[in-house]
Point group: C2
Chain length 441, copies 2
């Protein structure tokens, strides 16, 4: 027992981490790309049957470790190991187990499973922390099924009203009417009794390990990103209304064609993103009623706009608004109408300096023992996250920061997403080291 | 009894025509736009439950008139009244009772119900024709549910193989896997025992009354279009393949974004249609997997290209092929791949001069009795149809032509589609007159 002088005194078992991670991926594995069992992606959409299975599995893991677990009204799962002072709020490690429909085995999953293995390391070693240390699996981080990313950490932070979250409906209904989050929480038995709130369920801090999901660490031959913040992003649902009419008998000049107009808007948003050095992405595009020989009356598409600076993102939105109006009015035959709906508004985030310092110290320590570090090469760097994370919401209420690991070819939200077992373990050790450093402050 | 010197001796009852038409529209009425019962559009997709209901209703009508009805293996319904020489093939009046999902009460329906009222007029008057006179309701003319327009007259003409038609799958599955035409024919009990073939079920001729679906007759204050042919069109399904990746962490330069590329292709096709004075329409656009924050791996869209000349349409297709390749290769960051699938290929059609002459004589006769015709104003004109029709296929095998009636504001494939009761009756009388003229030749 006793105090920790170097992370080397407590080390996460690399094989166990890898086997736990892939064991958890038996639920929702999909999109095979290689021969071995582990060479698949994932399709574990929030609150579907496979998400229920992995949640049950996580509850079992807590039980095996002899730790208490509970669920809040957003389905967020919490596992806590007591410390010397059990009246203190816990230092939490958190991420998510839901994936994109064509997702990988690391995005979110690595963070949760590393937290689990960190807890296992503490339990197995009998190491006594000052305050409690815990793990949280946040519901529907991806926003892939219910289109508000990190909605459940958002409710916990009281930044998203509970009812708004519960009422969120599936973006694409598989059968019948699109189901709400509340319906699906009830259906899989994960609408817990604990209130989802930082007030009744406070943390001391929140640390999140995550794959970078971009190419930078790999390109620069680095091992760890010490994440200082997250770029700003806004998600919109854009509806373009025209008039349905016959494809063969309606002259071009007489058309109000919302599909054609929407296509021009998507191209315009990309042009604007280039101009402002930001990002614009349309992932969903639908047409209604949708037949080959009828112009639709309505086209809808999603627009994900990002920039590291809030002010520039606001300018990008404004430029899109102006250009969309112009195209719908002056560059689409008889004109169309365009409506904007804001789905997600995630301002730029700066993480807490204490947490960043704990991660930095842990990263420096863990990386220094690597063979590549010989000659004093620094194997970590400060980074800004391109993707949003639950940590954006926790940061509103408690000191927070994140740790990144390399991602093969920078590819994420894709079945071939990959982080090597060595890099996964390195990240998990940085996570454990940061948590223990923070606990000792 | 006896010979017919002028269409005035046999006249279709305007009120009965209107009441039959709206009675048939009780099955599948949808999209209310006005207060009265009749002020709705239609959503009667081929072989759905409402299509079964209107088919049953049509069988009942045949029974009431004491006429024989039968169904072929494509669900085409035939009702025939014998003539003096019952070994002769019948002169047929044909159109369709299926509609677009946001369709109107006239497209196709007017043609079938006018044929029914023409038969009723013959039965009620006891008028004896030389050969048999009949009515056909062709299955899935719209191509809205099963994406091959006029597929069932196509099978009858032996231009589309039976199995190809039977295997056609719904373009948008409502629940579960998309169903095939054969499955749906069996489900609603309309896969008849008669072979769908002009050889075993020959016609003497085929006449089709249809709303114009465009603005020309109304704009020129004319009453009847004597249709000499149909413009050429081709339907394609275009698939664009890229790579799914993260919307927040994938720099613009590193993207293979198939949605962005597809949007540029849709805009390019419209530009090309303008250049060639043809038409280009995209009615369906889908994205896969479809989440806000992931670039799709696949975008698909339909492309309906039309021109009055086959050669110019071929040039339009070629121009699109070249431009699509260029955009996917050189104007879409890391590039995408584009694949073309031909869904429908309908060359330009010239109807039979004997049928055109019969329609012209009938139109001249019927129109001359209108008050607007005073002073000798000609109220009909020759036209080329912008839309495809079952008559395109019948024309391959038997003398065929068509009659157009005015369409309010040129709007069709829309719930507000409208043709006045007077214009409907005028068209029906031209149809009856043309059929009787042809019968007497
Ligand atoms: N980590 C992650 O992919 N989160 C989804 C939210 C986002 O799109 O940035
Ligand atoms: N009449 C009609 O709308 N037919 C559909 C075929 C076409 O799109 O031209």
């Amino acid at each position: 027992m006793g105090s920790l002088t170097s992370s080397s005194s407590l080390t996460i078992n690399q094989e166990k981490l890898a086997s736990s991670l892939h064991e958890s991926c038996q639920f929702g594995a999909a999109h095979r790309w290689g021969k071995s069992t582990e060479e698949t992606g994932m399709a574990r959409l929030a609150l579907d049957d496979t998400d229920k299975q992995v949640r049950d599995w996580l509850m079992e893991q807590a039980k095996t470790l002899g730790l208490k677990a509970f669920v809040d009204e957003m389905g967020n799962q919490f596992i806590v190991r007591p410390g010397k002072h059990s009246d203190m709020p816990p230092v939490m490690m958190g991420s998510h187990l839901d994936t994109q429909p064509t997702g990988g085995r690391y995005d979110g999953i690595l963070g949760v499973i590393s937290g689990l293995e960190a807890l296992r390391t503490l339990v197995d070693s009998g190491y006594e922390t000052e305050g409690p240390i815990g793990l949280v699996n946040w519901t529907n981080e991806e926003g892939a099924r219910f289109p508000k990313m990190a909605v459940s950490s958002g409710v916990w932070a009281e930044a998203v009203p509970l009812q708004t979250a519960w009422d969120l409906r599936e973006v694409l209904a598989k059968d019948g009417a699109p189901k709400s989050m509340k319906e699906e929480l009830d259906r899989i038995g994960y609408c817990g009794e604990h209130k989802a709130s930082y007030k009744s369920n406070p943390f001391a801090a929140h640390f999140e390990l995550h794959i970078e999901q971009g190419p930078i660490l790999e390109d620069e031959k680095l091992k760890i990103g010490v994440v200082k913040g997250v770029q700003a992003f806004k998600w919109f649902n854009i509806t373009v209304k025209g008039r349905d009419s016959h494809a063969g008998t309606t002259p071009l000049y007489a058309r109000k064609d919302p599909v054609l107009a929407a296509c021009k808007l998507v191209a315009a948003a990309n042009f604007i993103a280039h101009e402002f050095q930001g990002l614009a992405t349309t992932g969903i595009f639908t047409t209604d009623p949708g037949t080959v020989n009828t112009m639709a009356h309505t086209a809808t598409f999603t627009l994900d706009l990002r920039h590291v600076q809030d002010e520039v993102l606001a300018e990008m939105v404004k430029a899109c608004e102006t250009e969309f109006q112009r195209i719908c009015k002056d560059d689409s035959e008889q004109g169309c109408e365009v409506q904007w709906e804001l789905l997600v508004d995630s301002p730029a985030v700066e993480f807490h300096s204490d947490c960043i310092a704990a991660v930095e110290a842990s990263a420096a320590d863990v990386c220094s023992s690597l063979p590549e570090a010989q000659g004093g090469k620094q194997l970590w760097k400060y980074m800004i996250s391109g993707a949003g994370h639950d940590s954006c919401y926790t940061n509103m209420r408690v000191p927070t920061s994140m740790i990144f690991t390399p991602t093969r070819s920078g590819i994420s939200h894709n079945p071939t997403e990959y982080c090597s077992p060595e890099d996964c373990a390195l990240g998990a050790n940085v996570l454990l080291g940061a948590v223990l450093r923070y606990d000792k402050q």
